[in-house]
């Protein structure tokens, strides 16, 4: 959908969902993803519908991605860096899988 107006000058390597790709130094993560043809960078936590970078200026929060392990980063506000790990987001942040681990199911306080 998007095409670069000027030819790339300085490429660096990052990973997107563990795949190594070349992106333009000086681009934001959101711009890099659009240039790679990845228009949808996440699915929403509530309905699971796809979302992609929209405002490109830090307002709409639709370009949220996981960057170097940290979820819900605004891709349009972060510049790409060599070796950066970018992951597309699916649904809500799984930060709290830790909390659910070993969960006791089917009890109620009345049975304690």
């Amino acid at each position: 959908m998007f095409r670069r107006a000027c030819p790339s000058r300085h490429l660096i390597q990052v990973t997107v969902d563990a795949e190594t790709v070349n992106v333009e130094a000086g681009d934001t993560v959101a711009a890099a993803l659009l240039a790679l043809g990845k228009d949808a960078c996440r699915t929403t936590p509530v309905t699971g519908s796809p979302r992609g970078p929209y405002c490109m200026m830090g307002v709409c929060f639709d370009c949220l991605v996981r960057i170097d392990g940290k979820a819900n980063q605004q891709g349009c506000m972060v510049l790409v860096k060599p070796g950066m790990r970018i992951e597309l987001q699916h649904g809500a942040n799984a930060l709290v899988d830790v909390l659910s681990a070993g969960r006791v199911r089917g009890t109620s306080p009345g049975n304690c």
Binding site: A92, L95, V96, G102
Partner: protein, 378 residues
């Protein structure tokens, strides 16, 4: 409309006014709701969204009974709203917790529950004390500083913005007229009708009036020879990013919404009409949440807000009817979510009947006068 007067004018389009209006239109009354605009001080948009019973009513057992009645009515009320509007307010009543972060807090909690339950006339229910191990059965991720807590099966929560939306839709669906940007400046009487003068719009005529204007009730009540002495009490809320569901049941100061957002709240400040946020309170709220669930230290805060509770001198609701102005009623409380079902299904029918009845008698503002009088003899 053939007659130019409504049966009822409700002053205030928040959760309290709308819930009463909904009960009135269900009782086939012709209702107009006079509301302020988007910049109103509106507790209905800032609240935490609990349907909460546990611990309420110390000093006024009737408040616990009234709260318990509302909690019992809530499933039916939520179904009515769903039938009328298609909006699901995401009501969950699977019980709720209060968490204690020290032995001292635990002792205070256990004592408070005991004091509550031994009051004469208290309608008892079970508040179970849980130790750390029992709590871990529900929340494996609790921090090392969590000593224990308490649990009541009657507690729950819902999505308060969906409730607000549903009440707007439901009242208007059933024929209530809604007038935004119409703050009431003056209320007078013309023969048998009340005349409600509104800022920058035509006066409204109504046979009867219900004041449900939140903090503005203090100003409006004397116009109808009533006393609704309320003051603002600020609460602040931290909002975390949406997380995969990890809480089955709410904690009084920490809950996860139906859509995954985590809310942290329960601060109380006397700050006048200042509804801003402060970093000191935010830090305190965050600290308590992280001590409860250490992993939340990695979650992002996406928003904070302050809102003003509508508090009476003793913290309990006030319901009253004017002795000298027949047909004028007042209602005010700081639990517009919890009490919405009772307001619609129990209070509104009493308002239509014109007599608030024995159950609501303990909530008359006369209790403040007798307190003042007894002070004079000291």
């Amino acid at each position: 409309m053939t007659d130019d007067a409504f049966d009822f004018a409700i002053v205030g389009g928040g959760l309290v006014g709308l819930a009463i209006a909904y009960g009135l239109v269900r009782g086939n009354q012709r209702v107009v709701i006079l509301d302020e605009g988007d910049n109103a001080l509106r507790a209905s948009r800032g609240n935490f969204g609990l349907v909460w019973v546990q611990g309420k009513g110390q000093g006024l057992p009737a408040y616990s009974s009234w709260t318990q009645l509302s909690a019992r009515l809530w499933p039916e009320f939520a179904q009515m709203l769903r039938d009328d509007t298609g909006v699901d307010v995401a009501l969950e009543q699977k019980g709720g917790f209060q968490i204690c972060l020290s032995e001292a807090e635990m002792r205070v909690r256990v004592d408070a529950v005991r004091q509550l339950m031994i009051q004469p006339g208290f309608e008892t229910y079970e508040i179970r004390t849980l130790d750390r191990h029992q709590l871990q059965g529900y929340y494996p991720g609790i921090g090392p500083g969590v000593v224990g807590g308490s649990y009541s099966a009657l507690d729950g929560h819902l999505n308060p913005l969906k409730l607000f939306w549903a009440l707007h839709l439901a009242t208007q669906e059933r024929g209530a007229a809604y007038r935004p940007n119409a703050p009431v400046t003056r209320i007078t009487r013309d023969a048998s009708r009340f005349v409600l003068a509104c800022k920058e719009s035509k006066a409204v005529l109504a046979q009867r009036v219900v004041l449900a204007a939140g903090l503005d009730n203090a100003r409006l009540a004397p116009m109808l020879d009533m006393d609704l002495p309320v003051r603002p009490q600020r609460g602040q809320i931290l909002v975390l990013e949406r997380l995969r569901r990890f809480m089955d049941r709410p904690i009084v100061n920490l809950r996860q919404t139906d859509e995954g957002t985590v809310l942290i709240g329960d601060s109380q400040e006397e700050a006048g009409l200042d509804d801003r946020t402060s970093t000191t309170i935010a830090a305190t709220l965050a600290d308590r949440a992280v001590r409860t669930f250490p992993v939340l230290a990695n979650a992002r805060v996406v928003r904070t807000w302050g809102a003003l509770r509508v508090m009476s001198p003793d913290g309990f609701p006030i319901y009253d009817r004017s002795r000298t102005q027949p047909g004028a009623f007042g209602a005010t409380c700081h639990s517009g979510v919890t009490l919405a079902a009772a307001h619609a299904l129990a209070l509104a029918p009493r308002v239509i009947a014109g007599d608030l009845g024995d159950m609501l008698a303990p909530f008359a503002p006369a209790r403040f006068q007798s307190a003042r009088r007894s002070m004079e003899y000291v």
